[in-house]
Symmetry: C3
Subunit: 321 residues, 3 copies
């Protein structure tokens, strides 16, 4: 694997999940792989799980890690070509990406959707800017439209907790006071398409996600019906895609409750607003897998970094021949 930008970069999801679980059982089995190599984590947005789990994964592999909050510790970047840079932006992505490539062997990027301009968000200007101009592997730590480290952690969690061959998995929209990006939901859907499962998306009218991503998925507006006989319920808020980035309503009756959940397992990427997205009783029950998902973020990141390091070793050997 050269880069990790979306879940499809894994090629075979099932093998990746298996490999992630192996790393979890033997975290230091590849602790020499990252020796004398450096990963640079660039945060254009805040982070808790991604920040710590990726550092932890890097450390387990023996990597040297440099963390930088680009906005507060650096400056604003220009992403458009041909611009006369006489306003607020001090450096162009063309230089920044090449420069970071001088100091690190892998660069990981977190840059959220602005949720104002759909076209610009879908262009993934930050992530793709680094991808185009960096000369080292790029890892997506959540971009405008994808969060593939989360999706891989979710796949590991599903594998560890499934008790039937072909589980029913429901992605259920939840209310939220703020407009949130589509990245987690998008990557979860893309990951579920690679699973042998009955997959249903349920959301209120007006909250359908990008039809290119949900293509081929069953979307049900009746939450109760969608949840029937579910084994796993993945709850997540997202803002409207049609009325791009808007909170159409907060619809409190879409909150997940113990009653609605029935016997299913509860999943959420965190952070989660209690008693808005999901009631306390669910999170505090044994049915909640949210901490397992958070734990699996380490093994997802470690698997991805391991594969990138392995690939770069192979390339190095090939170069030497």
């Amino acid at each position: 694997m050269k880069h990790y930008l979306s879940i499809s970069d894994l090629k075979n999801l099932q093998e990746a999940v298996k490999e992630g679980i192996e790393l979890k059982s033997d975290p230091f089995s590849f602790d020499q792989l990252g020796k004398r190599k450096t990963i640079c984590l660039l945060f254009f947005n805040n982070s808790l799980r991604t920040r710590l789990s990726t550092q932890k994964a890097a450390s387990n592999l023996g990597l040297n890690t440099m963390v930088m909050n680009f906005g507060s510790e650096g400056w604003q970047l220009e992403y458009n070509d041909g611009v006369v840079m006489d306003a607020g932006k001090s450096e162009h992505i063309r230089e920044a990406a090449k420069v970071v490539s001088q100091y690190a062997d892998i660069v990981a990027i977190r840059a959220f959707a602005g949720l104002i301009d759909r076209e610009q968000d879908e262009a993934e200007v930050v992530l793709n800017g680094f991808l185009e101009h960096a000369t080292i592997p790029v890892v997506n730590m959540e971009s405008s439209v994808a969060h593939p480290l989360q999706a891989l952690a979710d796949a590991i969690t599903l594998e560890e907790h499934k008790t039937v061959e072909r589980p029913k998995v429901v992605l259920s929209w939840a209310p939220h006071p703020k407009a949130l990006p589509h990245a987690v939901a998008n990557s979860f859907i893309n990951m579920m398409k690679l699973q042998d499962a009955e997959f249903v998306i349920t959301n209120p009218v007006g909250y359908d996600l990008n039809p290119k991503i949900t293509e081929g998925c069953r979307i049900v507006n009746d939450q109760e019906k969608a949840l029937e006989n579910a084994n796993f319920v993945y709850v997540k808020n997202w803002s409207s895609y049609r009325d791009y980035g808007r909170v159409l309503h907060q619809n409190r009756d879409w909150m997940m409750t113990s009653e609605k959940l029935g016997g299913a397992n509860f999943m959420h990427c965190l952070p989660v607003r209690r008693n808005v997205v999901v009631e306390d009783a669910v999170l505090d029950s044994n049915q909640s897998l949210v901490i397992d998902q958070a734990d699996n973020r380490t093994w997802a990141a470690q698997l991805v970094l391991k594969r990138i390091l392995k690939e770069s070793q192979l390339e190095l050997h090939a170069d030497k021949k």
Copy 2:
């Protein structure tokens, strides 16, 4: 030692001081103890000495360190149970503490008193929130009402510099333009109660500290009288406890001077405002121990982390039997 929340967690202060001094003379004697283990330092408030000395101590023990400024790099946490989280707080301590426990073997927390609501400050919501919900050892890097790493460093400094069996130690209030917390003074007092010393607290009327903490201590409002024949004078400002968090007056005549100090050693936890809390002549004299105190922060932290790592090793062995 499972956690380090207050000076009393040390059990035997004299042994701890001795062990701290041993680490100082041989800093790398336990550099394998932290191998393949991670400490996460979470700062809810700014820091210089605590930030650097705890990192240094962790490095001496071979620990992997992750530092996070929770406010600016993460988001606001909710600490109350049962709340409908539809306002400014994005994550509940119940999740945050369990999540951090997935990525680290020890978590250290700095979270100051707000100095607005005494009851809330004394509830230590941040530190106790982590203590309750984390599944790993918790270290106090200064909480609302305690700063036990400072107190241990102070105990080491006293031991290194005392020239009589039973010294006279005076904790002397000082003026300051801003309202400051009681944490340093509280922990110093709690530490002094474990010492064989003549201990006197001196502060203006209205500035008596929490009577539960000063219980059994001599409090004198006449500074000159209190300082008579002192061997060590520990100077520190704190805001009023009775008129909670208020600066009643700035009383410049309580500033420590060479004349008042006489032949005693001067101590302060730093940062210190020169010519407000203490005059230049004191800080720039050989009687000042403030840099020794700062140095001993490393050995205090290293001792604490060493004991926690040792304890977790024992638990691991016990689990395996």
Copy 3:
């Protein structure tokens, strides 16, 4: 080398350049030199290249690194002696510098010019404050009037790319919307004075740099004439020195273009504003050395840290005799 404050601390520039190039070809040749030693990077201003390259260099030498953004993670320091510190500043440089010296073996400082008070900027209060009061080696990561790590990286880049014995090097002022410091230009000039080259500075009337620094240098106000037959053109904006810290005009016709550059190599310290300081065609051509310069920041820093570590080893041995 005890400290690295200016390019003249290198003693012999040519040997230093050679040593830097050797480190570049064998980055881990001294990876035991920093073992059990710590460098503390203190940022009073934002940084990308300096932040990452210095961390990378430290890691290559086996150093433990602690990074602190002093303003946002700590507090404001007082640099004047004798002050009654009852306003916004919480700690004096006298304490801060001695304290940091307890936790680190080397301290590196970035603190830009304020560009308001020339005398104060030239006094280098932050850097010199640390130099005076710290008890460990001090490295300049860009101060008010000097950026010697950049200048050393530039010297390495010149050496790697020169094709004639005695190249013509032109330092050419460029327009910029904001007032920028003189540090990079100053250190480049000081470095060029140590080179066997034809060196010309070109800038508009009113933009002459500090005459003490440009003493003995040819300054030409006609850019076209200055650029004739140049081998290297180092482009950089700086604010006025005479009308201290002011942007007199933005003079777009001073922007570097392919036409002006002719066959010369283009250099800039970055970050650079495209189509203001230099047109795209130059940066995107093979004549641009800006990424090589950025790469050489690592080797410049590594050489400096290596020499400081070597020197402290020698002192240690001498102490033991």
